[in-house]
């Protein structure tokens, strides 16, 4: 089943075509990777899907329903959550509160707050931050802030999770841990759509990879196919 | 901890103290020591009430029969920051907490309007100084404690101006007025009075407070060829109007600005260009011997540039009147003093002085028309001459006014 699909999605910033006419889809239960050189339009695509940006060209559907034109909070409540490339946390609030807000607002109204609080603690543990519950989020390292974002996104009980460069700045061992985290998220029944530059991770966890270049889709396929695609090697992988 | 915060002001609610033997008479006032109206304190009523208090005290104070002795005056001045909320509170503080014996007025027409009902409610006499206006007239019957001294638009200024203009054969006038009670009233009354006198009002333009350019108005008046240009604004705008008229070479036969032209420093700023400009008032040292004395006393104390040729003698006379009424009453009871003020005539620097009371003597009053030394003034050879027709005149009006001097 296609949980997310986009047709002819385009976005212009002034004269710059950040995305032009991109078709893409994500199936339920998949882990899909989105790669491409810096400035290819990956984050822009995520922004459009989550309604951080709006566009008039193209249609994006989530669970079969058209979501273009909706507001971010509506999309979140439909079951689509995201993290940000440049972290956007509630810096002065404790890590736990960050997650708690996710569970309090992302889920249908009327859920008892005690339930939400419990869920938040559990998720913080899930991303390995139970030790930093009370630390103000701004005092965490960047990597841990990103983990808070993941927990916060999960707290909204999404069906689809968008992860934007979760693994930047991690050493290989940490990358391995993060890969495990992504797999575990999928195992909870959540579809994952990731942007990464760390090839090892992308190749390791993804079922399918989409490649963008200059706002256009230049390739799509299994990790194997992508690694051997000449255009991708030339513009992205190098050598 | 919330609790403590709320409790604090309660402690402030003090208890009454036993009244000591009367040693001084306290006059209190909320005055604009800061903020946009602070200029009144320095140039209008401020110097006068200070001067008056010093004089009275130099005599040993006011003789109050009730106490059988002279009691010196003490001033209690609070700053209202030119804010209405602060002024009304300060006034009530003076009355209720400090229990001052008398109050002096706040500055500006609007503030007088607000102060009058408060003073009346507490039965305090309020002599009006800077301000007053036609809007207040219908309320006067319900404000028995109010005594206004300043002349204003229909309180004889505009009718007199209309006479002067029609005598001089002026046929057209242009009006610029400020969006303020003062401006609205004056332009309204001028419209009526001048039209009655057969003068055609060819332009009426209002400007907002803080306007930074009036050249379009001056240009228009010039194009329309208005023989008289009347600016019913405050000094800021009036200065701008004159400066612009000079630069744009618009020299009407009559150029009247008020308030502004009535201040002594006005002539200092514009030098020879002030010649022939008209304003309200008016009095000068030629008005009477008493005026001359008053002038001498003033410049002995203050910079002559602070003189106001419109209101100063009126404020001073008002205080003289107030003072005599208190001594005559022989008590500090306001109701008694009020009766004395409403029914008596006292000698002041204006000569015999009395108030025209409303509501058969039961309402508030305004200084009688006969008491004024003049309604319209004009700068002639460095003197602000009274040019009203009749006995008050100190010099005939010069119409058309001389040309603007060439800049040297």
């Amino acid at each position: 089943m296609r949980i997310l699909e986009g047709e002819g999605v385009s976005k212009h910033f002034g004269g710059l075509a950040a995305l032009s006419n991109v078709d893409f889809h994500v199936d339920a239960g998949e882990i899909v990777g989105l790669i491409g050189p810096n400035g290819a339009g990956k984050t822009t695509l995520f922004n459009l899907v989550s309604a951080a940006l709006t566009t008039k060209q193209g249609v994006i559907k989530f669970k079969g329903r058209k979501i273009t034109g909706l507001k971010p909070h509506q999309i979140c409540r439909m079951g689509l959550a995201r993290t940000f490339q440049s972290v956007k946390i509630f810096g002065n609030m404790p890590a736990l509160t960050n997650v708690y807000i996710g569970s309090l607002f992302g889920i249908p109204a009327g859920t008892p707050s005690a339930y939400a609080a419990k869920g938040a603690e559990e998720l913080l543990e899930f991303v390995g931050l139970s030790a930093s519950k009370v630390t103000p989020a701004k005092d965490l390292t960047l990597v841990n802030q990103k983990r808070v974002e993941v927990a916060r996104a999960l707290a909204t009980k999404p069906e689809l999770l968008l992860l934007d460069e979760l693994m930047a700045g991690l050493n290989p061992t940490e990358v391995a841990q993060a890969m495990e985290l992504v797999t575990k998220i999928r195992d909870r029944g959540i579809t994952v759509f990731v942007i990464e530059h760390v090839m090892k991770a992308i190749m390791g966890v993804c079922d399918r990879i989409i490649v963008l270049h200059h706002g256009e889709k230049i390739a799509e396929g299994t990790p194997q196919e992508i690694a051997n695609n000449r255009a991708v090697v030339e513009v992205y992988l190098g050598e | 901890t919330m609790v403590l915060a709320l409790a604090a002001p309660l402690f402030a609610a003090g208890c009454d103290e036993a009244e000591p033997e009367k040693e001084v008479i306290v006059f209190g006032a909320a005055r604009p020591l800061t903020g946009p109206f602070a200029v009144y304190e320095e140039m209008a009523f401020g110097p006068i009430y200070k001067m008056w208090v010093d004089e009275v005290n130099a005599r040993g104070g006011l003789y109050i029969e009730e106490y059988g002795k002279r009691l010196p005056i003490e001033l209690k001045i609070y700053d209202d920051g030119s804010d209405m909320g602060t002024m009304t509170s300060m006034l009530e503080r003076l009355i209720l907490e400090d229990e001052v014996d008398f109050i002096l007025p706040p500055a500006s027409t609007a503030f007088l309007f607000a102060a009058a009902p408060i003073a009346n409610k507490h039965g305090y006499i309020l002599m009006g100084a800077e301000g007053g206006g036609t809007t207040l007239t219908p309320l006067l019957p319900s404000l028995p404690y109010y005594f206004g001294v300043l002349n204003y638009s229909d309180h004889y200024q505009m009718p007199v101006l209309a006479d002067i203009l029609s005598d001089a054969g002026i046929e057209t006038a242009a009006i610029m007025y400020l969006e303020d009670l003062h401006g609205v009233e004056y332009s309204g009354v001028a419209g009526i009075e001048l039209t009655n006198a057969g003068i055609d009002i060819v332009m009426t333009k209002s400007v907002p407070l803080g306007v930074m350019d009036v050249s379009s108005i001056i240009n228009q008046a010039k194009t329309l060829g208005a023989e008289a240009f009347l600016s019913f604004c405050y000094p800021d705008e009036n200065f701008l109007a004159i400066g612009t008229a000079i630069a744009l070479d618009y020299n009407p036969d009559v150029f009247l600005t008020g308030p502004g032209a009535n201040f002594a420093f006005f002539a200092g700023v514009f030098g020879p260009a002030a010649e022939g400009i008209m304003g309200y008032g008016a009095w000068n040292t030629k008005s009477s011997a008493a005026s001359e004395d008053f002038y001498e006393k003033f410049i002995a104390l203050y910079d002559p540039g602070l003189l106001d040729w419109w209101g100063h003698n009126l404020y001073y006379a008002g205080l003289q009147f107030f003072e005599q009424a208190i001594e005559e009453a022989g008590t500090l009871d306001q109701a008694v003093i009020r009766e004395v003020m409403a029914t008596s005539t006292f000698d002041t620097i204006l000569g015999p002085t009395w108030f025209d009371m409303t509501a058969d003597g039961e309402g508030g009053g305004l200084l009688a028309e006969e008491c004024y030394t003049g309604q319209v003034g004009q700068w002639q050879n460095g003197v602000f001459e009274v040019v009203d027709p009749g006995a008050n005149r100190t010099a005939p009006p010069v119409i058309p006014k001389p040309a603007w001097p060439a800049e040297e």
Binding site: I35, G36, P37, N38, G39, Q85, D139, T141, L142, V143, N144, E165, A168, G169, L170, N171, P172, T173, E174, V175, A176, H197, M199, V235, Y236, L237, G238, E239 | -
Partner: protein, 234 residues
Amino acid sequence: MLEVNNINTFYGKAQALFDLSLRVEESEIFALIGSNGAGKTTLLNTISGLVTPASGNIEFLGKRINGLAPHIIVEMGISHVPEGGRIFNEMTVRENLEMGAYSSHAWKIRWGTLQQVYEIFPVLKEREKQLARTLSGGEHQMLAMGRGLMSRPKLCILDEPSYGLAPKYVEEVFRIINSLREQGITILLIEQNVRHTLETADRACVLENGHIVLDDICDNLLQSDHVRKAYLGL
């Protein structure tokens, strides 16, 4: 060339660096390895004067530099390319580079230096007049490094220069680091790309929780069990 002796650095009450010491020799590439939050950035910031150590001593070319303001440390020949590059987005590429040469000795010879930087990064010359915020990720990082070079540093501190870069640019970054060394510039480098780093650098130390746990030449570190397990994911 650079000697760090027993420094302790705090953020408020939390201690980030504990009794930390290290030496960087002239003309070498010295790498810092450590998991996230280990204190690598803190160490670099302490060296370049952005953070003041509570105790300890830092010497550069024999002169004590801890406690000096950052702008004085730059004058002495240390250039710091911060995490994420932090270029001036609203200035042109050229102006960014000129800012790099702000310190007084570098300013006089900035035109010469500029030509050299353009030789190393020809793309920057092409983009000279463009506003920095319109650069791509790779160009952005090149500009940050180029700006670092403009001050004619003796020691260049690079904090994760390949952060968030596409694989192709990561290669580019290491190529540049090598060419800097060839020009005789000493380099202090943080990189998460541990294998690549250890293959490029001469010596490295491993930082964990604000302590140095290993300090050796890179060939040895590559063989170390601890490094292989904790940092190479083997």
